[in-house]
Amino acid sequence: MALAGLFLISFLVVHLGINLLILKDDGRESFNIAAHFMVTNPLIQSMQWVLFGGFILHILLGIVLQIQNWLARPQRYKVEGYSHTSFFSKYMIHTGAIIFAFLIIHLINFFFKAKFGEIPHIMINGESYEDMGILVIEKFKELPYVLMYVVWLLFLGFHLDHAFHSALQSLGLNHSKYTPVAFGLSRALAILIAGGFILIPVLIYIS
């Protein structure tokens, strides 16, 4: 669970890095080149299967653990949950389920289109590239999509708030000095990743 989660965080960072290129004012050139690299590079292509595996492992383990946890308390309390805990840590399965539901829509919107759909081509430095950028920009001109993505990414942020430091703790990495740093890093990652992703549809819509 922890290892798959950490792997997915690293994927999000790469994904965000490439996505932010679309905001660069160069006629989508760098974004399209990066997207082309991601679809054609054999190493990235093989990593794609590892990534799928990571997703499936993380989701399945999450479901199995949650079922075991529910079974561990067949009768619930009348008044419960007043213990001091981090808020989002209590709702990982819920935020996870919401992220998963939107993920399917997201894959249909972009991933499957990029893989199997027809994409307009664009000439960059005399070579023909798939114009993934226009696909993204067209999508984010529609307000419902922008709102949907903002909500989705907020939930991703909530999920990430209890991700990095929790994974380290599960792996047995706890230290009186560095664990508070891991907590801070976890929150920073949540804000930066969710905030960075949210920036993209919002800025595209505004401009």
Binding site: N69, L71, A72, V79, S83, S89, S170, L171, G172, L173
Partner: protein
């Protein structure tokens, strides 16, 4: 103080329980929570009814017997105390207090607020000991132990096994308890010999008994009357991973020292 109490009443392990509302009047704010329960029980007995059954023993916060889930928190609203150390001045006059037993599948309710915590004993039996034949008391300084390790071990050993961690955890996980019992030995040279086998067996027993999994919410640490830290859980996870990765198994040999 006048209070309204909503208490879980359950005749025995097989019957279906329900909440019963009681009123208690003229309670001193300086009486302890269990004294308030005694006063309630006296009034119930005078009416010829069955008093509320609850676990208690030392009443000074060291035995780990008392176990009430009070207004959504094990051992009530105060930090780092057991129910017997809780005082009525922590409540407001006229307040309604909801009192429930620990809720977890491995802790079945026996009667009213008493739950069966034998599961914890079974986990200890699975490896929470050092299996050497001891003779006389060894010399205190025969094995030099760094002060920091000794302190950490002592902190872990202060666990009284009350089960508040399980009661507080949204997953009814026993990780804090088991990790405290693993840590108190793992930190000391005497305990290191069997460390790999111990953590493996105790975790296996914990899982077998049906406790939930740890999702690092930290509720256990917040409610532990002895303030056991979840850094112990990380230590147990480390020990567990190491035991899986290939620490040598300890073979039993005859004879002792």
């Amino acid at each position: 103080m006048n209070l309204t109490l909503k208490i879980w009443r359950q005749k025995n392990a097989t019957s279906k329980g329900k909440f019963v509302t009681y009123k208690v009047n003229d309670i001193s704010p300086n009486s302890s929570f269990l004294e308030m329960m005694d006063i309630l029980n006296e009034s119930i007995v005078l009416k010829g009814e069955d008093p509320v059954a609850f676990d208690h023993d030392c009443r000074e916060g060291i035995c780990g017997a008392c176990s009430m889930y009070i207004n959504g928190r094990p051992h009530g609203p105060d930090k780092a105390i057991t129910t017997c150390q809780l005082h009525m001045r922590r409540f407001k006059d006229g307040e309604t207090i909801v009192i429930e037993p620990w809720r977890a599948r491995p802790f079945p309710v026996l009667k009213d607020l008493i739950v069966d915590r034998t599961s914890f004993d079974k986990i200890i039996q699975a490896g929470g000991y050092i299996s050497i034949n001891t003779g006389g008391i060894p010399d205190a300084n025969a094995i030099p132990i760094p002060k920091t390790d000794a302190d950490l071990s002592m902190d872990a050993a202060s666990c009284i096994g009350c089960g508040a961690c399980v009661a507080a955890c949204k997953n009814a996980s026993a990780m804090l308890f088991v990790s405290a019992k693993v840590s108190q030995f793992a930190l000391l040279p005497q305990g290191k010999i069997e460390a790999a086998e111990r953590v493996h067996n105790m975790v296996a027993e914990m899982d077998r008994l049906g406790f939930g999994n740890c999702t690092n919410t930290g509720a256990c640490e917040a409610e532990c009357p002895k303030e056991i830290s979840i850094s112990n859980i990380a230590r147990m996870n480390r020990e567990f991973l190491c035991s899986k990765i290939g620490a040598p198994k300890v073979k039993e040999e005859s004879g002792g020292f």
